[in-house]
């Protein structure tokens, strides 16, 4: 029933084919991985003819599964050199799901490097490529306006757009997805996939789902019953039912600061003395004072509602959130405590199409070089704008923390597999260090979010300052996360799922009732392991070894205040995380 839309940018042709039987249990990250694994040689040039760019809703995309509208975007990453899946909210995944499109697979490159194209998928399933050369260099927000002007007033559509950073091939370029109001503010930020989209001359995708109903199920009654149980778990658990909708993701700022695990001024200490200015509580107070929105979903069907809009002093929309990672990256990690500065930096990234985690780290590394002072918001804004507006340091900022650190001679560059670390200090939260080190994605908190048990007391407790149990914790969460990403579920459902056993049962009950296939605990975990196995095998083929599954050496030798600890998980424990891959690969027939 589901189909793949193949879009060949070399011949400018589009074909719609049935989803191959071998992938019929896959969606989201499992499917983007499987397709990239199948089609792309691991040694391919990420910006070359051979790379493919895949957009896939999860297996539950297009259904009423609560929080089931996440979008996976996959390709070989220009930043990490490995198989990348970058995950975004926004409206596009449900649109594709309702259109019964399991994936859009973009191949090849146009002969004319100056050509720009828009892919339009109409609600009747027809698809076409149009030439939009006049949009060259346009920002995501300008693209959203230009597309709006072209669409019928009564249309219902979503956009997937690529800003100038992607067109320029910058390694930190992300891809924007429109939210419920049409703002292009939900990002598949990580790993430079915007550069892949840019290399293919693809400036925008428009997905219309006007008048399309949610998908039907193999067993509607069973689906609705499971869906209600799942929704109840999400809305009654204190984290997803109260904490997240009230304060948003940035409620984490104070708690990581208290734990001494909040990376500050380029990972030089674990606490920020001016944390209050960029804290989630303060953010909520100021947003409410200014008349901003503090509670909405990033996509239709979200029952957690952790999104919010930051508005300026006059009440005008500036950007979403800012989310915790962004507030940390541009705030704490740069020594900046002014949320208006953070929001401006976030908006600039939104316009250009740059990953805020990578850019915050990049500015912090640049500050660490002594070029501009920590805490200087005006200098940070000028440095970020120099990517396209000239001046120092210029375009290299858009290639990320490692590129800037090398160019400016910075000793401490917080990256793994060339990707900058998010907002948790491995020396004070040992479990997240295991995830950063071993993840196929490069340093990525979402890949195996050990903050749950390490800091938040969700799903048990594992002492963040000790090494015991961290490897297993990270491994199990990496498998579970890959599974959620394959289903298209928001990873925040993990908080109730880790504490409420029936929420996990409800997930496979929904999958079974929707597809008519057998889904149970074993099958869900197998889905997670298979997803990770594609990534590991691809990365091996691209040349990755155990040496790539390590943190920067200075994190193992330089103690971090206030706990004055270093990262101490052994190499053997790190190497044990993916011990299931050989057996899984064999069972999949890949080895």
């Amino acid at each position: 029933m589901r189909e793949i839309l193949y879009v060949d940018m070399s011949t400018l042709s589009i074909e719609r084919k049935p989803l191959p039987e071998k992938w019929h249990r896959y969606g989201g990250r499992a499917l983007t991985d499987a397709i990239v694994y199948d089609m792309v040689p691991p040694t391919a040039d990420p910006l070359g003819q051979e790379n493919v760019l895949v957009f896939a809703p999860g297996l539950l995309g297009g259904t009423t599964a609560p929080n089931g509208g996440r979008l996976s975007i996959g390709a070989k990453s220009p930043l990490t050199g490995g198989l990348k899946e970058s995950n975004a909210g926004g409206q596009a995944a449900h649109g594709l799901g309702k259109l019964k499109i399991a994936a859009i697979v973009v191949t090849g490159k146009p002969a004319d490097p100056d050509a720009r194209y828009m892919l339009t998928i109409e609600a009747d399933g027809s698809a076409k490529l149009s030439r939009v050369d006049e949009w060259a260099g346009a920002s995501n927000y300008a693209l959203a306006d230009a597309i709006k002007a072209m669409r019928p007033a009564d249309d219902r559509y979503s956009t997937i757009t690529n800003g100038p950073a992607g067109e320029a091939g910058l390694k930190a370029a992300g891809i924007a997805v429109s939210d419920m109001k049409g703002y292009p503010n939900r990002f598949a930020g990580r790993g430079g996939l915007g550069a892949v989209m840019g290399s293919k001359g693809l400036k925008a995708i428009v997905v219309s789902d006007k008048g399309l109903p949610y998908l039907e199920h193999a067993d509607t009654e069973a689906f609705d019953a499971a869906m209600k149980r799942f929704s109840t778990a999400l809305t009654t658990h204190p984290v997803s039912g109260t904490g997240l909708p009230t304060y948003g993701t940035n409620v984490l700022m104070n708690i990581l600061n208290e734990a001494g695990g909040l990376p500050t001024r380029n990972f030089s200490t674990g606490q920020f003395e001016d944390v209050e200015g960029v804290s989630g509580e303060k953010q909520r107070e100021v947003t409410l004072e200014r008349g901003g929105n503090v509670k909405h979903g990033c996509h239709t069907g979200c029952v957690i509602q952790c999104s919010r809009y930051w508005v300026d002093k006059d009440g005008a929309y500036v950007t979403k959130g800012p989310e915790y990672e962004t507030a940390w990256a541009f705030g704490t990690d740069c020594g900046i405590s002014d949320m208006d500065v953070v929001a401006e930096l976030d908006r600039i990234c939104g316009e250009y199409g740059l990953d805020t985690i990578e850019m915050g780290n990049t500015l912090a590394v640049y500050m660490d070089s002594g070029a501009i002072p920590f805490g200087d918001g005006a200098a940070a804004i000028k440095a970020l704008k120099s990517v396209f507006e000239g001046g120092a340091p210029g375009r290299i900022i858009g290639d990320g923390a490692e590129a800037v650190g090398i160019k400016f001679g910075v000793e401490h560059i917080p990256v793994v597999k060339h990707q900058a670390m998010p907002a948790y200090e491995p020396r004070a939260v040992q479990g997240i260090g295991v995830t950063y080190a071993t993840s196929t994605q490069g340093a990525d908190h979402t890949a195996g979010y050990t903050i749950t048990a390490n800091i938040l007391g969700v799903g048990g407790t594992v002492d963040p300052l000790k090494t015991e149990g961290q490897s297993d914790l990270s491994k199990n969460l990496q498998i579970a996360t890959a599974m959620l990403d394959a289903l298209g579920l928001c990873i925040f459902v993990a908080f109730p799922v880790l504490d409420i056993p029936d929420a996990f049962v409800a997930i496979f009950d929904m999958a079974a009732a929707h597809t008519g296939d057998v889904w149970d605990t074993d099958e869900l975990l197998r889905l997670g392991r298979e997803t990770l196995t594609f990534e590991r095998l691809f990365n091996e083929g691209a040349g990755f070894t155990a040496a790539d599954d390590r943190l920067p050496v200075w994190m193992k030798t330089l103690p971090l205040p206030p706990h004055n600890t270093v990262f101490e998980v052994t190499d053997a424990d790190l190497d044990a995380v993916f011990d299931f891959v050989p057996e899984t690969a064999k069972a999949m027939g890949l080895r």
Partner: protein, 79 residues
């Protein structure tokens, strides 16, 4: 003994001065006071909590000491 207590998110409303805010207030407490005693005194809601003493997780039956900093969060998360 003197103990600094900071309450976060919606728990901040439970500070005895009624001023809210995340800054710590200094309490003068009898020796042997436990975290659980303070949770009861402050009237914090009956729900899971994340509790730190001097930047480390602490069990609620722990006894507080002079000079400690106690920080209490409601169940929250993000990412």
């Amino acid at each position: 003994m003197k103990v600094d207590i900071a309450l976060f998110a919606y728990l901040a409303d439970h500070q005895p001065d009624g001023l809210g805010g995340r800054h710590a207030r200094t309490f003068d407490l009898p020796e042997g006071t436990t975290i659980a005693d303070m949770i009861a005194t402050l009237g914090l809601p009956d729900q899971p909590r994340v509790v730190f003493v001097n930047n480390r997780h602490a069990a609620e039956d722990s006894v507080l000491h002079d000079g400690d900093r106690l920080a209490i969060f409601p169940p929250v998360a993000g990412g």
